[in-house]
Every structure is written in structure tokens, then in C-alpha cells.
């Protein structure tokens, strides 16, 4: 279905965008809420949610066939939070994100082809991790979940979650560097 959506988006089909909005509003809103740590009012979160879909639409011709919408939307959402806080002259409450994992100095995520490629590469790298490390990484970096929530859900201590995240980060950095998304320590 997602491939079809991307194809239809590229054909300027607004009904495809509406279908995507209906499916992913909750997903995007949740990520925005998590990454803002609940500091933005609902009105702002909904505005940011709308901006995410607008950005998807404005960049529809850059989407690669077969690419995933969910991580792409998550990236735009997270970046939207970051920009909103910059507008307010504040630091975003949560600043890690999965683009940090690449240690790339790519410019802020604007939906360009490089970002799409980077996300695809990162997903492949994540696939090499064992569970629950992969899920922890996704939930922490993609969804902005707190380590305390992860600890509770995975029946671990908070310190154990952080340790696993730390080790997984190291593995991913190595993999991403090998695949051309440097940087190297």
C-alpha cells in the first residue's frame, strides 16, 4: 500500500495524502508529543502534525519508490519539534535522534534524498541488532520514548537500558561508517 501511496503522491493525488494523514496522524502526533516532552499544547502539536504532512507533500517527488513512510515521517516530525523550539529560542527537550546515530553532518532534515537514503541504510543496520536492543533503539531514537518507560516495558533497570543503548550506538556507528555515513572516532 505504501508504494502505491508514494506513486500516487508523485502523481499529485491529494486523496493519497488524505489516506496517509488518516493512517499516520496518531503516529506523528505521538512522536511530536514524546519529543516535546509534553511541553507543547495540543494546538501546537496539531499544527506541527499538519506541517509534517505538508512537508511530505512538498517533497513527494523526492520519495524513493519502496521507501518507508513511517521513519520518514518520524524524521520530519522530530525535526519539526527541534525547529519549533528554536523559534521559541529554547533547546528542544529531547535532542537525540536517529540521525545522530549516523554521525553525519547532513543539514537539518528537509526531506531530501540523502535523508531517505540514510534512513534506509540505518534500518538495514538496525536489522543487524539483536532483540531487545533493536526495539530499545527504535523506541528511544525514533519515538523519543524515555529510558524509564523502556525500563518498565522491558523489565530492566534504567541503567541497563542506557547501557544497551550505549553499546548498540557503538555498533550502529561502526556499521553506518562502513556504509559511507561517517563520522569516525
Amino acid at each position: 500500500m505504501e508504494t502505491d501511496w508514494i506513486r500516487r503522491l508523485k502523481q499529485d493525488d491529494e486523496t493519497a495524502l488524505c489516506e496517509i494523514i488518516r493512517k499516520y496522524t496518531g503516529y506523528v502526533y505521538t512522536i511530536l508529543r514524546n519529543f516535546s516532552h509534553g511541553t507543547l499544547p495540543q494546538e501546537d502539536l496539531e499544527e506541527l502534525t499538519a506541517d509534517v504532512f505538508l512537508r511530505l507533500w512538498n517533497n513527494r517527488n523526492r520519495l524513493r519508490d519502496g521507501s518507508e513512510l513511517a521513519p520518514y515521517l518520524a524524521a520530519i516530525a522530530r525535526n519539526g519539534v527541534k525547529n519549533r523550539f528554536r523559534m521559541l529560542g529554547k533547546q528542544p527537550p529531547v535532542r537525540q535522534s536517529y540521525e545522530d546515530l549516523t554521525l553525519s553532518d547532513a543539514k537539518d532534515l528537509c526531506g531530501d534524498a540523502e535523508m531517505v537514503e540514510m534512513i534506509a541504510c540505518l534500518l538495514r543496520a538496525l536489522d543487524s541488532l539483536c532483540e531487545p536492543d533493536r526495539s530499545l533503539m527504535i523506541r528511544f531514537y525514533f519515538y523519543g520514548e524515555k529510558t524509564s518507560a523502556l525500563a518498565k516495558a522491558y523489565h530492566m533497570t534504567d541503567a541497563a537500558v542506557r547501557l544497551r543503548l550505549h553499546r548498540s550506538r557503538g555498533k550502529l556507528r561502526k556499521l553506518m561508517t562502513e556504509r559511507g555515513f561517517d563520522h569516525v572516532e
Binding site: 488524505c18 494523514i21 496522524t25 496518531g26 521513519p71 525547529n83 545522530d100 537539518d108 550505549h166 563520522h183
Partner: protein, 161 residues
């Protein structure tokens, strides 16, 4: 979605905030905006603030524009290691600073840096990136950031990892 990443579908966020009415409101807002003229996608910035990502680790190099307030971001400076000394090279001139770890939470370390003139800087680092926010003019030229020392030189703080 490729087969190798099917697991992503089975991993939604905790407590997803699903609300059909919200989806309708968002859709309405998006469709309204689609009818408006397209604006350029400039990243909103704090006035007079420059933001640069630079590619360093322990050393960082980048051009920094003139500005009353400069924010320098260096990727992956220390990989989360604690440190007690910070050196900033501006146009090749090295300035050394002692740093004080003032807070440490789930996501980042925050250091306070004071120079000999009493100016204060904030140096924030999560495990993969570093930001330095400084008041004062920063001339065009190269900036390098170097950190040194070790955790034993720092005030007591719980280590995250």
C-alpha cells in the same frame, strides 16, 4: 517495506495518541495550506544565532559567521566520555577553559564554562553531539574544539553509562 525491516511495523510507539477527530482536523488544516502559496523552507532560527554542524570528533573545524551569539554544534565529540578541560581554537588561537559538569540527565550532559573575563558558556553534549552556546563575537575563520581530562577531575555526578 522491505522484508528485512518488517519488524518496524510491529513496533508502534508506547501509548499512541489515536483520535479520529484529530486526524480530521489535521487533514482540514493540511488541505487549507495546500491552497496557500508555497513558502520557502527556511529553518527557523533564533535571531542573530548561527548554527553550524561541524564534523569533528575531538577536533572540529568549520567556518563560523560573525554574530552576536554563536551556537556551534559538533558531531560526536567525545562519544559520551566525561571531560574536565575544553579548548576552543578560533582562527588558530587557542583558548583553554576549565569546565564544570552542572547537570546530567537521560539525554545529555551540560557543562558550564567560564573564561578569564567572566563570560559564561554552556556546553551541552548528548552521546553523539555537542553544542556550545556562547555570547560574544566570533570572527570568521576556523573553529576547533578539543576536550581533555577525565571524569576523576570532575565534580561528583552519576555516570549514565
Amino acid at each position: 517495506m522491505s522484508n528485512e525491516t518488517n519488524w518496524l511495523k510491529d513496533l508502534p510507539p508506547f501509548q499512541p495518541d489515536e483520535d479520529p477527530q484529530r486526524a480530521e482536523r489535521v487533514q482540514k488544516r493540511v488541505l487549507q495550506k495546500l491552497d496557500e502559496p508555497v513558502e520557502s523552507e527556511e529553518i527557523a532560527m533564533k535571531p542573530k544565532m548561527t548554527f553550524h554542524r561541524i564534523r569533528p570528533l575531538i577536533f572540529a573545524a568549520a567556518a563560523v559567521a560573525v554574530g552576536a551569539v554563536s551556537l556551534i554544534t559538533a558531531n560526536a565529540a567525545t562519544g559520551g566520555e566525561l571531560f574536565s578541560k575544553l579548548s576552543i581554537y578560533l582562527n588558530g588561537e587557542k583558548q583553554d577553559y576549565d569546565v564544570e559538569l552542572v547537570s546530567q540527565d537521560d539525554s545529555q550532559l551540560t557543562y558550564k564554562i567560564k573564561d578569564e573575563n567572566g563570560n559564561e558558556y554552556t556546553y551541552q553534549e548528548n552521546s553523539n553531539s555537542v553544542e556550545i552556546q556562547a555570547d560574544g563575537d566570533v570572527a570568521d575563520g576556523e573553529v576547533e574544539v578539543e576536550v581533555s581530562g577525565n571524569a576523576s577531575d570532575l565534580p561528583a555526578a552519576d555516570t549514565a553509562e
